[in-house]
């Protein structure tokens, strides 16, 4: 009884005031999308499957930033720092101890835990120093840039951790794919960037997405939104703003770390420039343009934008980046809540003019 009602309570939090999409229509739609996503690899070639996994890899970081920024109101520019830390940590662990006995899964956990610890230490100084919005962005960005510069100068042979050379600007490579113990003949199952990794990452994405929906509709999420709306009022109501923001920061940064590990296993390399200023700008673009205050909008926006970015990269990444920059400026000026959210609210606005104040 107790156990069952606990799960029912969790399930009831899948929808609530902090997430768009409710009722059977939404969930049927979500199930259809999931079914299509599951069937997609069967109708396309292995290169496209690997490429789609690459899209999915980044979504975790975007969802994490959505929690920190969209729900918590704390703008972190430094999510790629945690991405890089976890990616490098995965590399160091697996290059030293190999990939047998499901060790890669433990390495993933350890790498994500490391990024969470770094986030907790940095976040302690930031949130307990009561750093306000703008400064938070600057300090996290400064940390990221210094970390990038540090990793970029580790080219010499003296920079190694155990057997793992850091390799400076060229980055680490040769990390093993994720492997999971698997019953039957093909033990262990190697999650190469093809069907196995696709289904693994898709399953992870569904789990994290649903878990975050539960999180933001729980009392924790409601307090977080209250802090975003008016942190003084939240303090007066007896909530320790610092702890909630720190918790959101750690959760979001762990998700950035997860993206980092998945990216590392996907391409079997990680470079300092994956943390640099251009890389750090992209999660902001995805989350801001999609719609930062809703998980679903962020999810869709991120996948669409990465797809668009890749299509434009054919002409050269500088053109794609200019377009991303333009999108960001246009979004902030014309639809501050995000383009996807603006579209979602459009029917409401047209039919009930004046009823809803966008500010």
């Amino acid at each position: 009884m107790g156990r069952r009602s606990f799960f029912l309570r969790l399930a009831s939090r899948l929808e609530g005031p902090q997430t768009l999409g409710r009722g059977w229509r939404f969930w049927v739609g979500a199930a259809v999308v999931l079914a299509l996503a599951s069937a997609y690899p069967l109708v396309t070639d292995s290169y496209t499957v690997g490429n789609t996994v690459y899209f999915f890899n980044w979504v975790f970081m975007a969802l994490g930033l959505c929690v920190i920024w969209g729900y918590g109101g704390a703008l972190s520019f430094g999510q790629t720092a945690f991405f890089g830390i976890a990616g490098y940590a995965y590399g160091v662990i697996t290059l030293n101890w190999g990939a047998d006995y499901g060790l890669t899964l433990w390495a993933t956990l350890a790498a994500v835990a490391l990024s969470a610890i770094v986030a907790a230490v940095l976040g302690y100084f930031l949130f307990f120093g009561r750093i306000s919005g703008v400064f938070l962005g600057i300090v996290t960005l400064a940390v990221t840039l210094v970390l990038e510069r540090f990793m970029a100068q580790t080219a010499g042979p003296e920079w190694h951790i155990g057997a793992a050379r850091l390799n400076g600007f060229n980055g680490m490579n040769g990390m093993p794919n994720l492997t999971v113990p698997w019953p039957g003949d093909n033990d262990p199952l190697v999650l190469a960037p093809d069907l196995p990794l696709y289904y693994f990452v898709l399953a992870l994405l569904v789990i994290i997405y649903l878990a975050l929906r539960i999180l933001v509709n729980s009392s924790f999420g409601n307090v977080l939104v209250a802090i975003r709306e008016n942190s003084e009022r939240a303090t007066m109501l007896g909530y320790d703003v610092r702890k909630y923001q720190l918790a959101a920061f750690v959760i979001g940064s762990s998700l950035a770390g997860l993206s980092g590990v998945l990216y590392t296993t996907w391409g079997q390399y990680i470079t300092p420039s994956s943390m640099g200023i251009t890389a750090a700008a992209l999660p902001i673009v995805w989350v801001a343009v999609g719609g930062r205050s809703d998980l679903t909008a962020t999810l869709l926006g991120t996948i669409l934008l990465i797809g668009g970015f890749q299509a434009l990269t054919v002409y050269g990444s500088q053109y794609a980046l200019v377009v991303m920059g333009l999108l960001l400026v246009v979004t902030v000026l014309l639809a501050p809540e995000g383009l996807i959210l603006a579209l979602a609210y459009l029917p409401q606005r047209v039919f009930r003019r004046g009823a809803r104040d966008p500010a």
């Binding site: 100084f125 200023i277 050269g316 053109y319 200019v322 960001l328």
Partner: protein, 288 residues
């Protein structure tokens, strides 16, 4: 021993001058309007590119630097008019928008002007003190940093613009009610901040390689100095530049360039834990 002391003082002066120069434009815009301009590095880049272009046409370097500053200032005023003005009161949106602009500017420069611009050599040669020689141009940079601070002090304290600007900082709507054109003041201030960034770019252009992403080399230091200093240029940015310059010079002498940067970063993280409003917050506590 004498050499070591002079060498350290030189490093210290150089680091402080660098921090003060690259942060003052950012600090003025921040202190005045609460806007953090993430495109600051790109203003520096614009100033450097313009300076080098003009210098290559045969103009003397000081004139070229003035051109660089004016060019960056003009871009700043246009940017304020078309983007920033619509975002006052939304500091997080401003920082995001200026980041978008920074992406457009650096990548756009890459598209239009290619991956690098041929640079000009450092002028003025070197001078021998003790048994070591030092670049004279670096001493010029130190003097310029001091002169710019003095100039800003005069501008904000002894001119009509300064009075109106300070009135606008303190109580914007009251200033407006008294007939101050606050929009114009904001526009001009943003232009001054951008021009200072452009001047910084121009001043450092002869000492470094010009690439479209060169702004990124300045902004970390600029941010760190502004965060440490707080909202006021004179009692914040200037002392922060000197203190951080000392830390950076000490760390650099001890362990090298990167240790200097990491030392700065650790210093700033500790400072914000102790003094969330920076040095000027501490000094101006009685006044607020």
């Amino acid at each position: 021993m004498f050499d070591a002391i002079v060498g350290f003082l030189y490093q210290f002066g150089d680091a402080s001058a660098f921090l003060v120069l690259c942060a003052s434009g950012l600090a003025i815009i921040f202190g005045m309007m609460g806007v953090i301009n993430l495109a600051h590095g790109e203003f520096i880049m614009a100033g450097a590119y313009m300076t080098v272009t003009v210098a290559k046409l045969g103009a003397p370097l000081p004139l070229a630097i003035v051109c660089g500053a004016l060019f960056a200032g003009l871009i700043g005023i246009l940017l304020e008019r078309f983007v920033i003005r619509h975002l006052y009161g939304r500091p997080l949106d401003t920082i995001v928008a200026t980041w978008g602009i920074s992406l457009i500017a650096s990548q756009g420069t890459l598209i239009l002007l290619g991956p690098s611009l041929a640079d000009i050599s450092t002028p003025l040669g070197s001078v021998q003190i003790g048994s070591l020689s030092y670049s004279v141009y670096r001493f010029v940079l130190m003097a310029t940093a001091a002169a710019i601070l003095a100039g800003l002090y005069l501008l904000f304290n002894f001119t009509r613009f300064g009075v109106l600007a300070r009135a606008t900082i303190q109580v914007p709507h009251m200033a407006e009610a008294l007939g101050v054109n606050t929009r114009f003041i904001y526009s001009l201030t943003f232009g001054i901040g951008a021009a200072l960034a452009g001047a910084t770019g121009g001043l450092y252009a002869p000492t470094m390689t010009l690439v479209p992403t060169m702004g990124a080399q300045f902004i970390t230091e600029a941010f760190v100095t502004v965060v440490t200093g707080g909202g006021d240029v004179f009692v914040g940015t200037a002392p922060a530049g000197v203190i951080l310059g000392f830390i950076r010079a000490a760390m650099t002498t001890w362990e090298g360039q990167l240790a200097g940067q990491i030392g700065l970063l650790i210093a700033v993280i500790i400072v914000i834990r102790v003094l969330p409003r920076g040095i000027s917050g501490l000094i101006l506590r009685e006044r607020t």
